[in-house]
Symmetry: C2
Subunit: 148 residues, 2 copies
C-alpha cells in the first residue's frame, strides 16, 4: 500500500526501490513474462508455458496443495490442464513489487457440459535473474468457482 | 488455476480441499476479514484495522521492503498512512485458497497536490485459527503508480 510521499510532478523519483537481489528481473520484464504466460496458455501451447519456468521451479496450484517441483512435474501439469481449453483473462493490470516477485488477478473461463465455469484466481510468481519463473502460487478456493 | 474435473451439476463436490491446518479460518471468514480491512481503512479507523491483526503478525508493504513485526510496529505504520486519506477500491473479487491464505487486487486512490494518484496493489494475507491476520504482503512497484 501507500508508504510514499508524493510531492510535485517528479514525485516518483522519491520512491525508494529496495532490491532484494542484484541483477534481478526488472518490473517490466517480470510483467512481460506473466503476459507471455497468459498468451501461451490461451494459445494452448504447453511447451511455451513450460519454457517460461526455471529448471527447479515450483508450482503450488492451488495454494494449500502439495507443490510440484521441477520442469518434468510442471510440464505434466500443463499437459493435463491446457488441453481442457480454458482461457485466462486478466481481471486487473499485473502488479510488480520491490523485489523479484509479481502478482496478477485473472479469471479462468472454461466451457463445461454446456455451462461457462469461471474461477477467480490470483497468481503470485517469483523470478530469477534471467527472467525465468522460479515459483508460481495460485490463490483460489472452492468458493472462487462460479457456474454461469 | 484449473486442476479439477467438473461433471454434472454437483461437480464441485469433486473439488478436493486440502487443509494445511485444523481449525483454520474458513474461506468466507478470511474474505470477510479482508473486506473489514478495506472498510476500516476507508473509514480512516486505524484502530479497527490494527484490531484485525494477530499479536505477532508481520506486514511487508511493499514486498521487498523490510517486514514490520508485531502490533506496535504495524500500528505505527497505519497511524502514518491512514490519515493520508487514501481509499482502497477492490479491482476484482477477493480470492481464497486451499489453505489459511487469501488474496485481493485493489487500487489505492489518493488525492495529492491536485492530482489523483492510483496505485495498483495485490495484498496476500494469512490467518490464524481465530481469523486474525498473521501476515500481509503487498505487491506493488513503482511502475504500478499512476498519476491521473
Amino acid at each position: 500500500m501507500l508508504n510514499i510521499q508524493l510531492k510535485g510532478t517528479d514525485s516518483f523519483t522519491q520512491i525508494k526501490i529496495e532490491k532484494g537481489t542484484n541483477n534481478m528481473s526488472t518490473q517490466s520484464e517480470m510483467k512481460a513474462v506473466m503476459q507471455k504466460y497468459l498468451d501461451a496458455f490461451n494459445a494452448q501451447d504447453a511447451d511455451a508455458v513450460l519454457a517460461l519456468y526455471a529448471e527447479n521451479a515450483t508450482v503450488e496450484d492451488p495454494v494449500g496443495s502439495p507443490p510440484l517441483q521441477g520442469k518434468e512435474a510442471i510440464g505434466a501439469f500443463y499437459q493435463k490442464v491446457i488441453p481442457m481449453g480454458s482461457k485466462l483473462k486478466l481481471a486487473a493490470p499485473i502488479r510488480g513489487s520491490h523485489s523479484n516477485s509479481a502478482a496478477m488477478a485473472f479469471v479462468v473461463e472454461s466451457a463445461m457440459d454446456g455451462h461457462t465455469v469461471n474461477i477467480n484466481v490470483i497468481d503470485v510468481m517469483t523470478f530469477d535473474e534471467s527472467g525465468k519463473i522460479t515459483s508460481m502460487r495460485a490463490y483460489w478456493g472452492k468458493e472462487d468457482c462460479n457456474i454461469l
